[in-house]
């Protein structure tokens, strides 16, 4: 099971703060992103950063472990 998190503007457009995607062997970040982006296109138009288990990830070819927490995030605007 993969826990997906949305915040702020992404959550607003997606209409939810989190969702669960079933884990399958060999699932990579790129595939997860592509699936969700098709489903939540307006939300993913804002996505700039991806974090897995709280750490930013730049290489979308990374395989995901079962139980991962993945956040698709808009550009930060804190401070």
């Amino acid at each position: 099971m993969i826990k997906v998190l949305f915040f702020g503007p992404v959550a607003e457009r997606a209409g939810c703060n989190s969702l669960v995607v079933e884990y399958r062997a060999g699932l990579r970040l790129q595939a997860l992103r592509d699936e969700l982006a098709a489903q939540y296109a307006p939300a993913f138009a804002l996505v700039c950063f991806v974090a897995v288990n709280g750490a930013q990830v730049h290489d979308l070819a990374q395989p995901l472990a079962d139980g991962s927490e993945v956040a698709f995030m808009a550009k930060f605007s804190g401070g």
Binding site: K75, F76, S77, G79
Partner: protein, 141 residues
């Protein structure tokens, strides 16, 4: 004693933060601080409130990492970072950064680096609440 890095709904006191920092060493010669405040006006629109949402666990971890990096990079004696979440009004405090060093140049450089890095690296998002409606702020590239 409060932690040196915090994300909180409540307001904070600069005097308390400075006292906490100064308690750590009498070798501090200069403390540079930055206080970010909610403006009642942004890009031509009146703003009545600003609301902040954070990816809490990641934001706190990034802020702690920033503090450690700054202490190392600028040879600080101490540093503190506090960011509010929830809803604040015009004129209210949003973020506070303090950098204490033996001499002022390092304190200034570190304080500026910390707020720049915080804006770039810490997962917090801001929504401006105006009389015409709400909108999430999308920073300029």
């Amino acid at each position: 004693m409060s932690a040196a890095v915090r994300i909180q709904i409540e307001d904070f006191s600069q005097d308390d933060e400075i006292d906490a920092m100064r308690g750590s060493s009498k070798r501090i010669g200069g403390i540079a601080t930055f206080l970010g405040c909610a403006r009642d006006f942004s890009e031509g629109r009146e703003v009545s409130e600003i609301s902040f949402e954070a990816y809490g666990s990641m934001a706190l971890a990034e802020m702690n990492a920033l503090r450690s990096e700054a202490i190392e990079k600028f040879a600080l004696i101490d540093a503190r970072i506090v960011h509010r979440i929830g809803t604040v009004k015009g004129g209210d405090n949003i973020v506070f950064i303090a950098a204490g060093a033996e001499h002022r140049a390092a304190a200034f450089d570190a304080c500026r680096w910390l707020i720049d890095e915080l804006k770039a690296r810490v997962p917090i998002w801001k929504k401006e609440i105006t009389p015409e409606g709400d909108s999430w702020v999308v920073p300029h590239p």
